[in-house]
Symmetry: C2
Subunit: 322 residues, 2 copies
């Protein structure tokens, strides 16, 4: 009797896949591009002739990206899909669907399995990104490796290429909230409960604008992600720390927790805001905010690597490998 089954191992692989398929049907995610979903050797999807496929993969691993004691399974599932959707956002892509490779120990409680699934499917419905397939297998630690598929108008994707010296650097939204919550949870103060919003609509709007250079999503912290955006082209960023968009009341909350707000905003990951470069004569932050439907803040500029070295006065800091 299913009633007495309490772990993934007792359920078995094929029954677990059927459980996933049933949950996905129940949630009823819109899937206009999916010709064949869960249950075959591969999923089949359609693109319009005017589109390109954007595809990205990302893993969330127990003990590295999440801990059961500080996060609910549902939250782990939600964040896993959000992290992946954010990569599509950074390309200006519209989600088509995702695949889930779930590895877990046989003793994983079915309650956790169902929670992970519920979190994934919640975000799947919110962002019209159906689960189209996946893989399930045994492992010592739980991990979710997701692959997201999206569509962009041909030749119009945002990429990390294209920033030039003199471009202004802008970010959407506010930085640091996730980093503060994670830092507090790591000290045993509260759980991680926030779920950032993948900036899908903003990314698509950005891809349609003129005067935009390169773009990236802030997943590993602004500092590191700007190095990734600019470094390969021999560029670096000069950031005015006083301009970083912090959440309301953030500095006070950081001080109470004994943390440095600037460090969290620059170094903390998982905000999933978009960072991008704008030509000197490109749209203003105000015009960008109107088109993207989000706050947009200009925080610095792109420089040739080696220029602006050191740590200038008044909060300016130089990012990049020199």
């Amino acid at each position: 009797m299913l009633g007495s089954v309490e772990t993934l191992g007792e359920l078995g692989e094929d029954a677990a896949i059927e459980r996933i398929a049933r949950a996905a049907r129940r949630v009823g995610v819109r899937a206009p591009r999916v010709r064949l979903g869960i249950g075959d050797d591969a999923a089949l999807l359609r693109l319009a002739p005017s589109e390109e496929l954007a595809v990205s993969t990302d893993a969330r691993i127990e003990g590295v990206h999440f801990r059961w004691r500080s996060e609910s399974p549902r939250h782990v599932g939600r964040l896993a899909l959000v992290a992946n959707l954010s990569d599509l956002a950074a390309m200006g892509a519209r989600p088509l669907g995702f695949l889930l490779a779930l590895a877990a120990p046989p003793q994983l409680a079915l309650g956790r399995f169902d929670g992970l699934l519920a979190g994934l499917l919640h975000e799947a419905r919110t962002h019209a990104c159906p689960l189209v397939g996946g893989n399930l297998c045994r492992a010592r630690e739980t991990s979710l490796t997701l692959t997201v598929l999206g569509a962009v108008p041909r030749g119009r994707a945002l990429t990390r290429r294209g920033a030039r010296p003199g471009d202004r650097i802008c970010v959407t939204g506010r930085l640091g909230a996730m980093a503060l919550e994670v830092a507090r949870a790591e000290r045993g103060r509260g759980r991680v409960e926030q779920v950032p919003e993948p900036r899908l609509a903003a990314g698509r709007a950005l891809a349609r604008l003129r005067g935009i250079g390169g773009a990236i999503d802030v997943s590993d912290g602004l500092e590191l992600d700007l190095v990734r955006l600019l470094g390969p082209a021999g560029l670096a960023a000069e950031i005015d720390g006083s301009k970083l968009p912090l959440p309301r009341g953030f500095a006070a909350r950081c001080r109470r927790a004994g943390l440095d707000p600037l460090e969290l905003a620059l170094g903390g990951g998982e905000d999933y805001e978009l960072a991008f470069s704008v030509r000197p004569r490109g749209p203003s932050p105000r015009a960008l905010a109107a088109r993207l439907g989000l706050p947009v803040t200009e925080i610095g500029r792109v420089v040739a690597r080696g220029r602006g070295r050191g740590r200038p006065a008044r909060g300016w800091r130089h990012l990049g490998r020199g």
Copy 2:
């Protein structure tokens, strides 16, 4: 100095990704459909307007799918991509590219990392399936989660659906060789060194033929995979064990190892042959072999579930959940 770096952890994430990108450039896999590969938030690929996208994901986990003591890292890498390409073969798809999510402990020796990569890229070149992106992260055990992308002519994919009672069941190639090698390696006799061939060309040829029902690749053993092919439609298989295509000298080698050849051929996985159903008036095994460029053997037929129950005489056995 890179010369003194001996583990993945010492190398670091960004340098490891750069090492992957360099190795991929060196191998020089053809990538006509890739507009943007490794190094951005997502890869960009093009499909022809007449095509659909086929996509599948599969994980290979240390201690579950491979053991360092019985397999070379290069072999682990080769098998990982072959397993995934086999899913494309079973859809009749042509490979477009693949993504690699690699999770590994920081102490993973660079020699193993390079070996995995060399094995993946060897198969990538052989099957014109370029590495287009991925993810790298820390974990307690090493795992490779691959996602393969392929293209099929619209509406012409082979699927698991479509088998009917009365269809003949055919398989390509020969079954059991991998299972024997794995069984021997598990007893400490020799290493696993074979690499099965993903039946990509045969799958595409099969997708063009009339009179074919459902198709699946034999990854978890013929018995289980036929249940997956037929079970969801309320069907089962009657297989004539005496007709199973065994490798030359297989029975004798099994006997020497104290193993049952029929059990290995029916239950052993990873042969990556194609199993498919053919209408009663569809092509003969001889005609199929000519079109597929491979041996094709008729091994039984599709029946309604519940018929032919039990274990009939002369090697016939009933597969399916009854």
